[in-house]
Symmetry: C2
Subunit: 352 residues, 2 copies
Amino acid sequence: MVHKKSKPVLATVAALAGVSAPTVSKVINGRDDVAAQTRARVQEALEQLGYESPVQRRARFSGPPMVDLVIDGINNSYSQEVLTGILEYAASEGIEIVLSSVAPKRLHDANHEEWAQRMVESGRKGLILVTSEVTTRELDFFKRRDIPVAVVDPLNPPHSGFVSVGATNWAGGRAATEHLLKLGHRRIAFLGGPEAAECSVARLHGYLAALMSHGVEARPEYILAGAFTRDFGIVGTQQVLDLPEAPTAIFAASDLTALGVLDEARHRGVKVPRDMSLVGFDGTPLAEQAQPRLTSVAQPLKEMGRAALRSVIQLANGEGIDSLHVELATELVIRDSTSPPILDSTSPPIRG
Amino acid sequence: MVHKKSKPVLATVAALAGVSAPTVSKVINGRDDVAAQTRARVQEALEQLGYESPVQRRARFSGPPMVDLVIDGINNSYSQEVLTGILEYAASEGIEIVLSSVAPKRLHDANHEEWAQRMVESGRKGLILVTSEVTTRELDFFKRRDIPVAVVDPLNPPHSGFVSVGATNWAGGRAATEHLLKLGHRRIAFLGGPEAAECSVARLHGYLAALMSHGVEARPEYILAGAFTRDFGIVGTQQVLDLPEAPTAIFAASDLTALGVLDEARHRGVKVPRDMSLVGFDGTPLAEQAQPRLTSVAQPLKEMGRAALRSVIQLANGEGIDSLHVELATELVIRDSTSPPILDSTSPPIRG
DNA sequence: CTGAAAGCGCTTACAG
DNA sequence: CTGAAAGCGCTTACAG
């Protein structure tokens, strides 16, 4: 006769650990009158059996599902789009999104053990992180408690332990650069994000691949790593425009950076696109609102948020998911910030 | 000897209702083998004693406090600012904000009884609504369960049952209009929000008060009620600019509406501020980013969000609060969209 | 439909 | 530090 593993109760745990029920109770409730060794044995039994107190069990089954979200300031277009995607899907599915009290900046300082514990106790289904770095050690706390974690645009490369949702950054970087090359540009600068950011690295490699396939040599002085900020757009533009041979086009790895490029260009009286072309990345409303409207590689940010939430819910429900890492397609949206370069000796026009 | 009212247990409730413990248990757990009359008696006893099951009690005391939030789309500057204020305070106090799965639009359709019940069960401290209307009937469900409710910029007038946080809309409306009058404008249109919106009504009355104190007759055809949208800015501007005697200035009751005014003005070749002055309301980043930069009455939106959250927490902790209705100060921020009118016979310049 | 009795799972108070 | 015993609060199974 096959016995289905029935839910473990305190007595089961006690039996396995070879102690009495009261002792297990003490361990669970964090009392300190338990010998370290005994405590360890009990804790092992608790984990092995996956014991859940009645409170925990009930929390897990009652009310609408809740998913924790850690997101950096909602006052940037990128986060906003992702958040909107998450919230729309959440509303349609009756899921509640809990904006964690853990600030993204302090993600690594947080007590992950306690955090995971609390999540289980309050019946959270999973955790979504937006553009964060996740270390294996941190992840372990969540894995051990079977809390699914999904990261939108992780800063570190895909990792077997969590779901990651990204965009085809390499293809996007290539498309942006191809577009500029086809317009006739040969001196194209790249203003990237942080060197550690996986997505920025992929965009850079897309840029390099496009240059290479057109037989254009990459120039190190045209390639800057910085941050996805407007300020870096200003500073980076100063730097490349002050070169003896200034670029005729800039590919900025984020729309925010591109706005900074526009600021500095305006400041110098450099007209975009007449004197210099510019492509951004992200395709947030900023691109549409900019003056001139920004040619940009659109990321499906809402869809990425939605996909992350859906994956978390699927995993929480014990359903399988197709792949731990998904990349949604980017799309080059051509607007008014790109045009053929002004002809000079170093950049002869080519046919598109 | 004074007995402190100790927490009621199931037996207490049973005694008060004159039934046995099992019967109370059945009512609590929603079983249907209880006579309607008995059920009613038990329910009354439950409410009277404020009975909480152990699960509920624990939920209420464990983990970081949670506050529910119902807010309309985060993709408008107004909501974003309010939300940012709420989140900043929440992060600093270790409070978790739960973005409710109840969509703002469906607020009134929701099952408030069930909602309030769930909030208690999951230990939510209170509820914040942003720019919503609250009916007495709905409020009762929350009051009965001692769930504090705070509304930021309620659409209906202050009500004794909930905390409301607003801004000095009347003073703001007057300041905006005074500014235009002092520049010499006499033909000033008002593009308001929905007629039902308390804040818009207050802004209108501020506008009227300013006109009156300068001896300027209000013209009904200059006063339009609409919505806080960009579209209404376009439509409203068309309407007033097509009047036989067009206004020389527009006071838009929201920045978003003001952007619509700019759209339509640009479309018609009307230069702002040279040909027409414009004042907005809200003081969101939109005002700063607009072309030209928008003179606007700034609301302390972040502070309003923060104040709402603080009040909810204070009430939840049983601390008193100074006042159920608070109005934070607005401030006229003069930028580039206002200037003296072009002189003509009907609007002689006056000294500021 | 109701409730006395038994039971469940956890916790507490305290003897050793 | 540990656990037998008593207790707590709720729930279940079932007799009436």
